[in-house]
Symmetry: D2
Subunit: 312 residues, 4 copies
């Protein structure tokens, strides 16, 4: 099952569960994977930035791909961003052999000019091989690499294995409009556009032409519903659900290790992972933050029972 | 009337109205100033980033200060960030003579180390003179300058005229907690903390110890109410009002000229300024964005009539 | 006398002399200007980064242009880089009226994509007006803005008043080759290429097709000779002179205020300016550095008597 | 044999030889290692940035350490900078078991504040273990991380296994003076300071208190002689030799892949490696550049026969 540009819906970015002592918690990884599978999602992305991939050794990364591939029946995307093409190629080939459907590649934060960006993806696409479909990650806030719609068009044009854009530019609504315009004009073939950035603009991104979400919100079930409602043209209902979650979603969307700390703590409180620890360097929630998250979830829970937490 | 660390409440950041041909629209500036005065705010900041200050000539900036000083009866803060201390001093002295209560200073985006930041503010404080109170602007997302709580403590300790922190770090809740902790321990004298960043975390920032808001949301009336409700301990009511505005507030909080384009368009639709143009280089809203904003405001208007727009 | 793409030779970047208390020293400015005039140079650039332009008030900048215009008979280029187009336009128009031949414009350090850079220069060229010739400054090390040869070609193509490239990319030899290649192919009209970066690669830049130098080395006489020798095809002689100066030239080429401190101290020791102070924030030489500079100059003086300093 | 703060002299940074098809050329690696051993150096650093380490797979890196450890009898330093501590620890432990004497750690380019930098090295030192001595790499031009002397003092104070500073700040002479001042005052224990940055300031860095060089100049023999002459107090002789090489050294010191291309080409022309290819992404010399390098070396060869190249 290969990742194609026909993908639609929600592909959550999975965190990687660790024990307090830093070891990977494979039982929690299994439980989390199964939960995603039961949540109506359309795929899963593992070993992304959010999954603390740069902190893993190769063998650990390999073991996680193997575990997920054994129990998840929909497309699996594996983050293979790496400081060099040799390591990228090694992980990509290994992942595909283990059953992945495609890989995700973010740019190194040293790229500046249009040609540097296009050239990088040309070499990356060559490194992983033309038979490995890839997700182009466009996340200027984290990577400091700014891709214009035209640069994305060039990357898509040059590399047939570029099939999905993980869109997390901010602001970014007009970028979706521009890319869909290229498609309409026949200037660019169709690619799937799945949005990231914590889902902060998911409501309008869907209306601008996105195919779904590819992000790490701690309630993927909400993303699934919003994407479906939006695709069904139920605008008000989509916004009502989205807006109910937004105060917490915004809180989760704090940059860096703190945002991940919020998510992991909620996943733990949802019973999906055993421990909210991040591998070093990381962050954890203090009492004030935990209180704020609980308050926010209690407010969502007034209309969405999925946000009800068990007693701590 | 001098700006002091006792300031509390809401000090909106005013945009600068221009005509379509780029001239400053002084009538709109007057109307906007009067509206702020009638909105229950506790001061006003003019000539900030949001006010497109770097695009103004000295005489234009001077004229704006003069106009506002004549019709606004509460503290006026003037942005004087400049590439050199000579220009900063000139504008600061001029502004104070015209009736300003203090100035705001953001860091140049070349500063990196703690000592560089502390040294810069030492020289800036000396340049404007010890009799000119200043607001320290901490906005890493825009300036790429990261100030730890300890660096802020050093700046406050060295410069008696540093009386307010415009706090717009993101994430930033724990920074407020850390600074208030310094005060409790007697390690730092009290300064006012007013939050920026479009108000995106105003609800919890107030609970962590902020004194109010110093930001450019297009409905300052909402900020005034949330700050009052929060100060009065009415937690749920504060969040209810804040959450009703959040979907639009988030939309307004898009970085760069687009966020300002949203605000100016809404100010125009509210009848407060004649034209939503930005001086070049700038951005303006396309039809899709206007529709999105109208939709968002119509949803706020269900519970807050201040968001009702007149027919276009 | 308008700056055109036919300019050749050496256009030194002049420092701005200050007294120890920070006031501009107009007598030294006059002396320095006259010295440049007598050194066989082909023009002068004032109010660049090296000239501490961002630290000057408008009236100070104006007065310097006026003074130089009265006593210098060759083309005068005035740096007008500014955070906004209004200030840029004001200084450019004023400078031209006072007798300048053209202006120099560096990019703001927030530009990233090719289109942003091209768009910025389109707006800048429009702001100063089509009758004002300008020097495009390409200095990635300081501005963090990377312009490919293709971007320069687009800027030249769009703006007829772009007549000179101040080339200070590093590495940059192949960039000169690429631009001259565009000219040969008819893809780009001719522009003058004058090199900066302290002259660190002047020897080979001339051989690659540069027309001369536009930089701040404290012995412009050497630059003049190297450019002439190189233009006359006297390769070994050009390198011999250049290499004799290189150990000191490299020392002067230290980034930031220190490099300028070296230059100003040498200008002072040469009797051309009264004081080596920089306006704040700045740097000055300590005893160890002064000893190093004296040692380096004494070594040049073995073959080039112009480097002999008077007793301190 | 463990790396200690008593190390002195020259520790060249070795490139990694590749075949044109991208495979590591182990024969050339052996030949190069033996050449270093015969050149009077005092150690060797492998797998640094210059050694294209981020482009290697773990097994390749391991094999290189193994090969060098078998034939090189002086201290071996292995670059272990990595995006995560798990990979850093894995390579560090493996390298030490294979016979390395210590490791080198550069900072990730996301660090900004003093505390972030100090915290990073605390965690890195803990990750590799207290029994593994490390070289602190301070290279702001490449890493965009600025360490004040005080930050270095804190890192040295906190981590007993920090024994060497690879100093490549620019400008940086006063930093050496400041650090040696800390030692004199008893504020910091002694560490070795070895200079990098291609050796561009080696002459004066030795005079300011450096213990030697740790850089990748293609004629390490020259570095060895300059360090010895300088240590012996033969100032003029040290500068004479250094200055003879400086025009080429400066050419080699071009940033990024081009500088490495120069070095590899010269190593190839010296018969030390079979091929000057870089693993992708890389650069190679064009005909113009080769001519320039040959010309520069022919000028050195007038006084230093080691720069005579065999006919191509």
């Amino acid at each position: 099952m290969s990742l194609t540009s026909a993908i639609k819906g929600v592909i959550p970015i999975s965190p990687t569960p660790f024990f307090a002592d830093g070891r990977v918690d494979m039982d929690s990884m299994a439980r989390l994977t199964d939960h995603f599978g039961a949540s109506g999602v359309d795929g899963i992305t593992i070993l992304g930035q959010l999954g603390e991939a740069p902190k893993l050794e190769f063998q650990e990364a390999r073991a996680i791909v193997e575990l997920v591939a054994k129990r998840f029946t929909q497309p699996i995307v594996v983050g293979v961003s790496a400081p060099g093409f040799a390591a990228m190629r090694a992980l990509a080939r290994e992942a595909m052999e283990l059953g992945a459907s495609g890989v995700m590649i973010g740019p190194p934060n040293t790229l500046r000019t249009d040609d540097q960006i296009v050239g990088y993806y040309r070499q990356a696409a060559e490194a992983i091989g033309p038979d490995v479909p890839f997700v182009l990650q466009d996340y200027p806030l984290t990577f400091s690499v700014v891709m214009t719609p035209n640069v994305i068009k060039r990357i898509v044009g040059e590399n047939e294995n570029c099939v999905v854009l993980k869109h997390e530019d901010w602001p970014g609504l007009d970028k979706i409009t521009a890319l869909r315009g290229f498609e309409k004009d026949g200037a660019m073939r169709h690619i799937a556009i799945l949005v990231g950035n914590g889902g902060l603009f998911l409501d309008f991104e869907m209306e601008r032409g996105a195919d779904g979400a590819n992000t790490g919100y701690a309630f993927p079930e909400m993303l699934v519903d919003v994407v479906k409602l939006s695709a069904a043209g139920k605008r008000d209902a989509a916004h009502d659900l989205f807006d109910a979650h937004l105060p917490y979603l915004r809180y989760e969307q704090q940059q860096g290790p703190l945002g991940l700390a919020v998510r992991k703590w909620v996943y733990m409180r949802r019973g999906l992972i055993a421990c909210d620890a991040q591998r070093k360097p990381g962050a954890s929630l203090n009492a004030a933050a935990k209180g704020e998250v609980e308050y926010l979830l209690s407010r969502i829970a007034r209309t969405d029972s999925r946000a009800v937490l068990k007693a701590a």
